[in-house]
Symmetry: C2
Subunit: 197 residues, 2 copies
DNA sequence: CCTACCGATCGGTAGG
DNA sequence: CCTACCGATCGGTAGG
């Protein structure tokens, strides 16, 4: 799903994919290598022919996701459009990532605390950097009078966390349509709840 | 902090408080009873004179929080005010709980998956019920033409998750003032980002 | 509240 | 990729 097309999923890919599903469901610490091995269909010891350690799996998941978001941020920064349009594009990207790829994204968002140094610091820095760049877009919009005078960091916080809550949806029976969800969120975030007309 | 005044904090209270801090920091599964005992200042075996099991601690934290939120919801449902006012009151309650009591609230929000049956189902039911009641307030506002026609469940999702992200704030050096944070969030959620005048 | 200890399970390795 | 196994650590109990 995340991998480039044409290439077949290797055993390592399968392990990462199953691991993301289990880490999301039970959490990193509560998932044992024996659990994971069973879901892959091999013995626990055999996992170590494909990965070096349990932590390496988490690193692969977290940095895969981080790279994807960073690339998208660069594209948006370089693109045209006013600040509201940029925020809308970012918002739609986040939502789509959450819907299409939600196990990886969810794990990266909630389980990164279990990374070990130096990966932990590296990841935290990337996170901080991403939020700053997001806030800079909002601040730019405020200066240009496209966005009302709110605290940019608070707005970033709200947007990022609002989107990361999509999981509760994803598994609901209603199975809200992805596009409809996107549009609803965009309206609420950009225009608020209150009826103005 | 949560306890009724006048009564001194018992050893059990101290254990629950330290546990909330550690569960938030490292996660439930990654916190050992030996870790917890050390932070309380006794041996691991001695914890069991005050609590029955590790899971009982999590139960106490989660249901304490759930009860507080349910009581507040009842008060708001029974009170007067239009739908926007009710939502604003709910929002402010959530934010305040998160700021003043955030270790307990955070743990209840992120670690409840580690509850065991029958507590797990009980907690999930209360959660679902709470969200339905929140959505009902929004739907009522839509009918009365106070709120624009958005999907009420999506709005609840956004609001609840936006607020639960406050933790990243709480520990930031900026130490944003609680009241200022509240006002910023209320404006963004009710009026959106776009400048309308 | 402590010392001493239990069986179970953990992440990971040796050797083939 | 498996069998066999390691030392460490886990939640929890017995007995005082």
């Amino acid at each position: 799903m995340v991998k480039s097309p044409r290439r077949k999923a290797s055993k390592k890919d399968i392990i990462l994919q199953k691991a993301a599903a289990m880490f999301r469901e039970k959490g990193f610490a509560a998932t044992s290598m024996r659990d994971l091995a069973e879901s892959v269909g091999i013995e626990a010891a055999s996992l170590y022919n494909h990965i070096r350690s349990k932590n390496e799996i988490l690193e692969a998941i977290c940095f895969n996701v981080a790279n994807r978001f960073n690339e998208n941020m660069e594209a948006i920064e370089a693109g045209n459009g006013n600040s509201i349009q940029k925020i809308e594009t970012l918002l739609r990207f986040h939502i789509r990532q959450m819907v299409e790829n939600y196990e990886e994204v969810y794990v990266s968002d909630r389980e990164w605390k279990h990374l070990e140094e130096p990966y932990l610091s590296n990841f935290q820095n990337q996170r901080r950097n991403y939020r700053k760049r997001f806030a800079a877009i909002i601040e730019n919009g405020i200066q240009k009078n496209e966005i009302k005078k709110i605290d940019a960091s608070t707005a970033v916080l709200i947007i990022l966390h609002a989107v990361s809550g999509i999981e509760s949806w994803h598994r609901s029976k209603e199975k809200i349509n992805g596009e409809e969800l996107e549009n609803n969120m965009v309206v609420i975030m950009t225009d608020g709840l209150r009826k103005t007309i």
